[in-house]
Amino acid sequence: MNNEQLIHHFNKILKGFLFYLSGLILACIFLFPIYILFVNSFKSLKAMFLDVIGIPDKATFTLKNYINAFQSLDYLHSFLNSMIITIISTILIVLISSMAAWVLVRYKTKTSKAIFILFAISMLIPFQCQMLPLVGFASRIGLMTPAGLVLMYMGFGTSMTTIMFHGFIKNIPEELEEAATIDGCNAVQLFFIIVLPLMRSILITVAVLNVMWIWNDFLLPFLIINKEGLQTLPLKTYLFFGQFSQRWDLGSAGLFMCMIPIIIFYLFCQKYIVKGITDGAIK
């Protein structure tokens, strides 16, 4: 090897070393909060006061925090509440938005253009603008229920979802639908048999984005269904910290338990989440 090759070779090794070093440091920083929750969730409050950073040793290791947090959060119940509300809302949002997006693309009229623009503009309005009138009106007509909450998610979710579907349907050629119409398909058949199956990939992407948003949402359920037995996981977490502030032994176990479902969800849907963010950003 001559000198130049040697320098080149050395540069390559140095670059690789720098890449792995910075990757390692950054990964540790990003995982640090999760690590702290995890190790402390197995310590008693006393052991935590003595050492909050290290891993629990044999003498201090305990599972009590999980048992107590599980009970105080009413975990299974709150988990199911969150799950039911998230799934039903997502299905309905995706259904009504895909229907709307289809006709908004296929009918090139002034009305459809105006409605599309209305949806786009509405995304700029912060939630605080609707919050109070919405709660006032919901309490008057008996919408302070899980069903009312689902209806609200439909309203809040539909504009963004319709716009994402709109962008996708624009690129589906119309000929297929024309052919099916000649074969005698009516509008409902046309949509459910021809159009929806073509939208498979975007349906999943958009559903995943809606699931993440609704699952984590706190303020709306707090205002609408803050009643014993109806609370979702974020709501219970909030009340839990009101009750046990500074009890970080229970707190760390509770927080860790609440993070597990969404992390599992991520492991399964990583591809769609990444696609959803990039698609959503481009629109």
């Binding site: 792995y20 009504i96 912060p126 939630f127 603008c129 609707q130 919405l134 006032g136 984590n216």
Partner: protein, 289 residues
């Protein structure tokens, strides 16, 4: 009505109706309430008070102005740091090495977790963990976090950078991957250095992604609520209260719904104004590919 018109409205109606009754009508009613003394209690008289609520925001109740200053300063810092970090992470994980998939997953993960859980998690770190570090090392830098405005501010900032950089990273990765390999190859043959390539090739071609990244981080900093509520509750003494929490507190803390509505209109003007200006300004700088 023709058959085809019926189809249009039948398919559109479910989405349109839910949008109208949940989003549009409450917004319009809210505009009206901003000019009243509505207190949110069912059955109480709602009286028209003209611009009194707006006058009160500036003349009597200075909490909104303080929240606006705090939020603006926060948004400036957060937007800069989140996007610089996100872009740096994107550059790192688009290198040709093994392990980038794991790194991407790790950097993105905080985004999945709700703001409320993140707020409580960091509250734990800033109080308990930082306190222990300060006791063990004697560094006063780590003691008393979240007990005053400055550490509350930086606490919120650290949380936000930790949460949002991974999201921006995903957007920037997508854009970096769209830069044609031929351009990079040509630059490499010409012996262009790393920094020069970044400045003259990557940066200009990244403009569309910067538009999105800046817009998303500005608007989410301004609208931040859950993290603020869980991390500092706006305290101590409202010194870290951001706009959304301030509006929430004037409604549910002091039952002044009319005032809260007036604040929310100003909030809307700020958020929408920034969004539109930012999009127009950055769109002009974009390079056509």
């Amino acid at each position: 009505m023709s058959k085809s018109k019926i189809r249009f409205w039948v398919f559109l109606t479910p989405a349109l109706i839910s949008f109208l009754i949940i989003v549009l009508i409450p917004t319009l009613i809210g505009f009206f309430y901003a000019f009243t003394n509505w207190n949110g209690i069912v059955g109480s008289n709602v009286k028209f008070v003209g611009f009194q609520n707006f006058i009160n925001i500036f003349a009597r109740d200075d909490s909104f102005i303080k929240a606006l200053e705090f939020t603006t300063l926060f948004a400036v810092f957060a937007t800069l740091l989140v996007n610089i970090t996100g872009f740096a992470l994107a550059l790192l994980v688009t290198q040709n090495y093994r392990g980038t998939t794991f790194l991407r997953g790790t950097f993105f993960m905080p985004n999945l977790i709700g703001g409320l859980l993140l707020g409580f998690t960091w509250q734990f770190i800033f109080t308990s963990v930082f306190d222990e570090i300060s006791k063990n090392t004697g560094w006063s830098f780590f003691s008393g976090w979240l007990s005053n405005q400055t550490t509350g501010f930086f606490g919120l900032l650290i949380l936000t950078v930790w949460q949002l950089s991974g999201y921006m990273m995903i957007i920037y990765i997508a854009q970096i991957q769209q830069i044609p390999e031929s351009i990079k190859e040509a630059a490499r043959i010409d012996g262009v250095t790393f920094w020069s390539m970044l400045k003259n090739i990557t940066f200009p071609l990244m403009m569309p992604a910067f538009t999105i990244g800046l817009y998303l981080s500005i608007s989410s900093s301004f609208k931040m609520f859950d993290q603020n509520l869980a991390l500092t509750q706006g305290g101590p003494y409202k010194s870290t209260e951001m706009l959304a929490l301030n509006i929430y507190n004037s409604a549910f803390g002091s039952n002044d719904f009319g005032l809260a509505q007036a604040k929310s209109i100003i909030f809307l003007i700020i958020v929408a104004g920034i969004g539109v200006t930012q999009l127009v300004l950055t769109k002009r700088k974009e390079v056509e590919m």
